[in-house]
């Protein structure tokens, strides 16, 4: 294979890497805001050095190029062949990887649009460049079926995300969030690496398919169990499943909003794709069973326990939240639990249900964070009370937010409802005797609880008209519209969520066709 062929097959990643460099260069040319001056300054407006005009122009240019690069990358993914392998199986190209690369790129695209209106982020070029690097990490994750490459992807994504979490240097919570995310994340990575080394020791290979074949011969051994559990812990951290979710609330709340959106969406989608591949392809033979009264040792009872814990903890703790981002974080924990149901069920059916649900969830969450970002920009905070009376000030934002919230709650005809139906039916079908009914019933109970807190958010938006006087002028500005670009992208996201709820067929068909 010549280098030209290699470049062709890796062209989406290459394009994004190139875009990241270009964006970085533009950002540098546009002028950096000195850190010391900005930190001491009270507001973001007092940037010393370059005039605000050139900085603003540069940041717009950065956003434009980042979006353009991502659009080109989608085109490049579409040009890829159906099946190919790179570097002797280190990276593979299948319909599944192509589909999820496009989804990851689309999520990054919306994140870039979201970030473009965020004035509090200085050094826009750097910020966008790091988001693009994280996107490459996600694409590597999605596109590999090999443990080492997966680890590299995890680390590339993780390191980029740690940085963009701590990016808002004027906000101490951002620093706290970054530190927490980093400490938890690196510990989890260590666990994963440890687990991977056990798996490698057992099977003598790092390729998932080969591991799957090797494990068939070996029966369940303590060493293997340690390896599997360690590996799963690392992923449980990534998807924020209880009890490895402790970083999520602080990170979601403290990080700049676009970063939080990207962590909650892109990182989650890619992690679920990889987790699914690892457990279903790599650990396939030691599936075990999580059926009631008929548990068999394996990874699926482990995931079932994680799912059950996440559903219970996430939903119950979310009830008590008064900050919308924190609420979304705990609900994310619960949703990780629901999504795991498909993997517990296993098989093609379960995996495709998981993939559908996590995709829908990611788009919904980017949208919800988009609304939060606009409200935060105008009112200075994202506590629940800042959303009061949003419906009379900006019916569009209120309408979008209600679509996102009701979809998360699983209300038809929105995508979240279909996703849940698909997921739960897959879980029930997996066991001949409805053995997973306990988990499905628990998940439904969880959705019942979740409806309460989602409705509370909507209640505040649609009903509480009286807000504190000091944020009234800001709220009026919100009524006038934020930036047109962001309103359009939020409407598009809401339309996607509605569309996937009413006509889920095409995406489901594509996912099922993409699975081997």
């Amino acid at each position: 294979m010549s280098y030209l062929d290699l470049l062709k097959l890796a062209s989406p990643e290459a394009i994004i890497a190139l875009t990241a460099l270009v964006v970085l260069a533009i950002g540098l040319a546009g002028g950096r805001a000195p850190v010391a001056a900005a930190v001491s300054a009270a507001g973001p407006n007092r940037t010393a050095g370059d005039t605000p005009d050139t900085t603003a122009a540069a940041s717009h240019l950065c956003s434009f190029f980042a979006a353009l690069g991502l659009a080109f990358a989608v085109g490049a993914v579409l040009m890829l062949p159906q099946h190919a392998t790179l570097f002797g199986g280190m990276l593979v190209i299948t319909p599944l990887t192509s589909l999820f690369k496009i989804i990851c790129i689309a999520l990054a695209f919306f994140t870039v649009l979201l970030a473009s209106g965020n004035d509090s982020l200085r050094n826009h070029g750097e910020y966008l460049a790091i988001i693009l690097l994280a996107t490459i990490g996600l694409m590597l994750l999605v596109g590999s079926e090999e443990l080492l490459m997966i680890f590299i992807g995890l680390e590339l994504t993780g390191l980029s995300l740690y940085i963009i979490t701590a990016f808002d240097k004027t906000d101490i919570r951002s620093a706290e969030a970054g530190l927490k995310y980093f400490l938890f994340g690196s510990t989890a990575s260590a666990f994963t690496l440890f687990g991977i080394s056990f798996i490698y020791g057992m099977s003598g290979t790092t390729s998932l398919a080969a591991i799957g074949q090797k494990l068939t011969a070996t029966s369940a051994q303590p060493v293997l169990a340690v390896g599997i559990i360690m590996t799963l812990i690392g992923f449980a951290f990534k998807i924020a499943a209880a009890p490895f979710h402790l970083w999520a609330p602080d990170t979601y709340q403290g990080a700049p909003v676009p970063s939080a959106a990207f962590i909650a969406s892109g990182s989650k989608v890619a992690s679920f794709v990889v987790l699914g591949k690892i457990v279903l392809v790599g650990f396939g033979p030691v599936h075990g069973s999580a059926a009631w009264h008929a548990m068999i040792a394996g990874w699926s009872p482990v995931l079932a326990v994680l799912a059950a814990l996440s559903i219970v903890v996430g939903n119950l703790v979310a009830l008590a939240q008064t900050n919308v981002r924190r609420l979304l974080a705990y609900s994310a924990v619960a949703h990780a639990g629901y999504t795991l149901l498909g993997l517990v069920a296993g098989g093609r059916d379960g995996f495709s249900a998981t993939l559908f649900y996590t995709t829908v969830y990611a788009f919904t969450l980017v949208g919800a964070f988009g609304v939060v970002a606009l409200v935060r920009r105008e009112t200075g905070s994202d506590d629940l009370q800042n959303f009061a009376g949003l419906s009379s000030l900006s019916p569009l934002l209120a309408g979008c937010m209600s679509i996102f919230m009701l979809s998360l709650a699983g209300m038809p005809p929105l995508a979240g409802f279909f996703g849940k139906f698909y997921l739960f039916s897959a879980a029930l079908r997996a066991d001949a005797n409805h053995g997973l009914l306990w988990l499905v019933a628990l998940a439904l109970l969880g959705s019942l609880i979740s409806l309460y807190y989602y409705l509370i958010v909507l209640k505040v938006i649609f009903m509480d008209e009286k807000a504190q006087p000091e944020i009234l002028p800001a709220r009026r500005r919100l009524g006038e519209g934020g930036s047109l670009l962001q309103q359009i992208s939020l409407s598009v996201l809401a339309a996607i969520v509605l569309f996937l709820g009413i006509i889920p067929g095409p995406l489901v068909a594509r996912i099922i066709a993409a699975l081997p």
Binding site: H434, V440, S447, L451, M463
Partner: protein, 480 residues
Amino acid sequence: MIAWVIYVTFTGAVVLLFLPRVFSRWIALLTTVAGFAIGLTALFRDDVDLAHFTTIVRVPWVPMLGMNYHLAVDGISVTMVLVTGIAAVSTVLFSWDVDHRPNEFFFWLLLVVGGSYGVFLSADLFLLFVFYELVIFPKYFLIAIWGSTNKEYGAMKLTLYSFFGGALVFIGILVVYVTAGSLDLNQLAQFQFPPQLQSWAFPVLFLGFAVLAGIWPLHTWAPTGHVAAPTAGSMLLAGIVMKLGAYGGLRVAMNLFPQGFQIWSKWIAVLAVIGIVYAAAVALRQRDLKFVIGYSSVSHMGFVLLGLATANVLGVSGAVLQMFSHGVIAALLFAVAGRMIYRRTHTRDLDELSILGLSRALPFAAFAFVIASAASMGIPGFSGFAAEITILLGAWKSFPVAVWITGAGMVLVAAFTLRALKKSFFGDSQSADSFATEPITFAEKCGAGLVMFATLAIGLYPKLLLDRIVPAVEAMRFLK
């Protein structure tokens, strides 16, 4: 043709969002009248076989998972569509005075109506469930924004109860789906589910639906919700939404799990009878007029459940007729209590109302309330009598004891109805000058006239509906 009730209603709802507020009530009226007219013509057309659940639309939806956009109609569905149309038109007429965010109000209202039409016409379990859940959350907004007394509590309680019922239904539907591998109600009606599965899946599914029908002891959302809701909300809830639960229990739970139904039918009858008597007894002690009517709804829905539990043609047909009858009567009762009385006097307390001498101030309201009370008590000549006597005849064959207890319950129903009637309109006001207020508007008269006509027409000529209901009931599996 009848499928258009769904499309017209949802189109109306979407159009409402984009038009200025002056048009909102007219659009809503036009939409609901169109739905009512379509339902009425469907009743009299004989090109569709109403004795069986006949497919009218069938389009693949998510073919990989076996979901179809599949609508069908039979005598039961067409009856329910008709009562939905009547209740919807009168609800809009009784909401003519809504000034606070009217577009949103009528949008949510039409979503409830459209979703209900969808449930009554769905022949695909997934589709049915989509419409069923679609009815739930608009009610939250209707009550929490436009409601009165303790509205946020009532709205949340009602929504969570409904969603809890929905979750049970969800489990039941999933079990049906993964066991039979199909979602088509007509195919599933041929499928033999294992008896062991039926014995536990039936109560889950039926109870899930019955929560919405106000089965005792899961009825408590109904009175609170009715009281908190705006007039339109109570009318929709009692007139349409509670019927969804009973309809689902009949169409899905009983028809798919006949053996499970056999095992559990006596328990349903027990709960139904407790509901009839208990709710009537509670209603006797209420001071708030809307609470009285709210509990009367629970009591009347108890008749529906009793009729379903009888498992014979007479009882089940009576239950469907009672759904129709209660739909129009409850709508009228709530309209009088909420719109005609409460909007003018700002009180629903029976003791306070009794000194106002409302019968002289609002003679039309008094007339309407007398008619509604008579129908509610089961006076011959009104639809309530036709329905309840049919149910009791059916119950006599299956559960004679239940008939005796229910008979006692009916005395209680008469007692609380007469008490409410006397206290609200014919109280002993000493002062000669009666309470002065604005007269009943034309819109209110139209709305009340429509439902009064419906209850009288069916009371005098129940054959009109029974001729369509009975063959459809006979085609159901659990009777064989």
